[in-house]
């Protein structure tokens, strides 16, 4: 070999690596730009302002934290920019400017940097920031329709309208064509609406080999399959499936958040299981949960289970096929189970019965040890029982009096025309208890205790219905609604609008009550309670045979 130039000696590897963390993140940013542009077109320049604030907050938080802790500056790897972008894109355009700042600082500092920075967090930072913001009542629930003018500064006064996701959550099919859904010409999260652009970005990322298509495909495939098998609304299964796939943050979450390297499983089987698990949880939350969109919560929950998934999918021995490992594991299980034997106990009563001079002295000796052990416990138990019994005897009357007084105030609230209440033995499905209210002129009506599902759990209410089938009053006795948001729909001012109504009360249209904006689930729960009570009283069977059960009224 003739040497024409200097011999360059290098150590391996000798192929220059083009991709780095910053180039990968730059690819992700490029993939998000079409969606961002579409969002600006749909929702106005406030989108850009919010995105800039979010990115600045994330980058500033990362720089500030690393600087304060004396660590190396990692802002150059652009991961904080991506977090800021994704966080901003999952917000509504009506979000105040402090929201992305709070979410960004939380996601960068607590979720990412506290665990060691890039590549060492276990939860997706952007989604965790979004989840934190979701716990602020009212922040993530004001969605505006596309092409509304939302001002750059000042109070956002736009008309909030039901997004496709809200309609799907209520079981109705949104009235949009496929192209409208794909292009995002409807309300929703800033970056979640333009589905077509997000898919373009996803194809770009897969083509550049930044993300593996396994998780997005398994996620979207599971959601598609489940929504196809269990459709709702009256447009057919296929229309329901496409509407579900194109609404909410599903494509954004599946392509950009569920495919994050650090917070997803490493093994292929684990990744498929991760995608499937996300899909199942998303559909479960969309159908039965309180929040309209379950994508963020599903991905976060699966982020916590990544260790289990990797463990389930990891082969035990290197160089041996996976089924060998599974077979070995099953064999180990079988051997472990086979080691468990049932040993019949040797019952030895009166083992020492024959000992001692007197008959039974051996038996007493055997007992003495056990009695000595348990004597202290028995004494404590006896004293406690006595105390409970004594307190009960002393406070029994007072307790009953207080309970009666409470029931009387409840009656006054629920059925002001009645002066006396009496429990009835009538039973009806859905009624926890039926109490009759009387005054001087006879039976006024029935107070029915019913339950309905509110936002945070079960809501129990007592509804008074008079003999004409009209509501006399509503009182909520137990609820788990958000203080300040849902409880607005439980105040007496709101509940008084049910008085005098009859028939089936709806939330819109004829015979409607005005729902409290921001507390729709709670208002609907109260309305459902009232409707149940009206139906129960209308079909109450007071003539039939009454079975009195001992101990119950």
């Amino acid at each position: 070999m003739s040497q024409n130039g200097p011999v360059i000696r290098r150590s391996s590897p000798q192929i220059a690596q083009v991709s780095s963390i910053s180039s990968t993140m730059l690819d992700v940013i490029v993939a998000l730009l079409p969606a961002l542009g579409m969002a600006v077109y749909l929702f106005g320049p406030r989108v850009l302002a919010l995105t800039l604030v979010s990115v600045a907050a994330c980058v500033g938080a990362e720089y500030g934290y690393r600087r304060l802790m004396g660590l190396s500056n990692t802002v150059g790897d652009l991961s904080a920019c991506v977090t800021g972008l994704l966080l901003a894109m999952s917000l509504p355009v009506t979000a105040p400017y402090w929201a992305p700042v709070l979410g960004g600082v939380f996601s960068i500092v607590v979720v990412k940097q506290f665990y060691g920075g890039l590549g060492r967090n276990f939860m997706n930072p952007a989604l965790a920031g979004r989840a934190l913001l979701c716990t602020f009542p009212g922040l993530m629930t004001t969605w505006v329709d596309a092409f509304q003018k939302t001002p750059l500064f000042g109070a956002v006064d736009a008309v909030s309208s039901p997004t496709p996701m809200a309609l799907l959550h209520a079981g109705a099919l949104p009235d949009l064509t496929l192209s409208q859904l794909m292009l995002g010409q409807h309300g929703g999260a800033m970056g979640g609406a333009p589905v077509f652009m997000l898919l373009l970005g996803g194809v770009y990322l897969v083509g550049r080999r930044v993300i593996s298509p396994r998780i997005p495909l398994s996620y979207l495939g599971t959601v598609a399959l489940l929504t196809l098998l269990f459709p709702r609304g009256n447009g057919g299964a296929l229309a329901w499936m496409t509407a579900q796939l194109c609404s909410g943050g599903l494509v954004l979450g599946a392509v950009f958040m569920a495919s994050d390297y650090t917070t997803t499983p490493v093994t292929p089987v684990g990744q498929t299981l991760f995608g499937m698990g996300c899909g199942v949880l998303t559909v479960l939350l969309r159908y039965f949960g309180s929040y309209p969109d379950g994508v963020g919560w599903a991905i976060l929950t699966m982020n916590c289970c990544v260790w289990l998934l990797d463990r389930a999918a990891l082969p035990r021995r290197f160089g041996v096929g996976r089924f060998e490992a599974v077979r070995g594991w099953a064999e180990h299980l079988r051997a472990s189970a086979a080691a468990i034997h049932f040993v019949p106990p040797k019952v030895k009563f009166l083992a020492r019965a024959g000992d001692g001079t007197m008959p039974g002295e051996g038996y007493l000796d055997e007992l003495r040890g056990t009695v000595r052990q348990l004597a202290a416990l028995a004494a404590v138990f006896a004293v406690t029982c006595g105390m409970v019994f004594g307190v009960h005897r002393a406070t029994d009357y007072a307790a009953v009096r207080a309970e009666t007084a409470a029931q009387q105030t409840l009656l006054a609230q629920v059925m002001p025309q009645a002066t006396v209440r009496s429990e009835t033995p009538y039973r009806a499905p859905g009624a926890l208890s039926i109490t009759a209210g009387y005054n001087d002129s006879g039976l006024v009506g029935y107070c029915v205790e019913v339950q309905a599902n509110g936002f945070g759990g079960v809501l129990t209410a007592v509804v008074g219905v008079n003999t004409n089938g009209e509501v006399t009053g509503v009182a909520v006795t137990d609820h788990r609604e958000t203080v300040g948001m849902g409880t607005q729909a439980l105040e007496s001012g709101y509940l008084s609008q049910y008085t005098g109504r009859s028939g089936t009360i709806r939330t819109s249209g004829s015979n409607a009550v005005e729902a409290v904006s921001g507390a729709t689930a709670t208002s609907e729960a109260v309305t459902s309670c009232v409707n149940q009570a009206l139906a129960i009283v209308a079909s109450l069977d007071t003539e039939g045979k009454v079975d009195y059960v001992d101990g119950e009224v």
Binding site: Y115, F122, L300, I340, V343, G551
Partner: protein
Amino acid sequence: MTAVQLAGIALAALLSENFILVSCLGIGSRTQAFRDPLDAWRTGYSLTSVMVITALAAWVVNQLLRHFALSYFQTLAFALTGPLVVAGLRYFLRTCIPELSRRMDENLSSVTSNCAAMGTALLIAQRGYGPGGAFLYALFGGAGATVAMMCFAGLRREVSLTSCPRCFQGLPINLITAGLMALSLVGFYGLHLS
């Protein structure tokens, strides 16, 4: 109770009212259970078995108390039922199935006064579940607690908990991790099947 209602109870016990992450009830005194995933699994299945037996026993005790109008003894009766069930189970395993006793005994002793078992009994009595509902609630509640404990222990294994500022190392970062796991379950609050 209908199948949908029972399924709703099971789902609620598993996700929206997870004993460890939402109701914060199953956090026992055994720290090893939150460090080692295998120990978390053993504590989990011990807790599940204790919860199921305690739930059924407490349901029976509650019915007896209500029948004899002694409902004011409910707290005392449930407080005794839990440890008695655990003691009985440990005695039974020690005499009849020694291999299981060898594996489960220390985990069983740590769940003697676990709030999840006694909390199950009280919640079942308060909500008036039937025996089927009680069984499902305890079974899926225990399963949810097991998964939560295993995930937490796995996270402690895999995730570096010493990269935070020194004032956060130790208990604070553990609590933050548990809090982030609980944050992910906030979306399941109010989940209902009907």
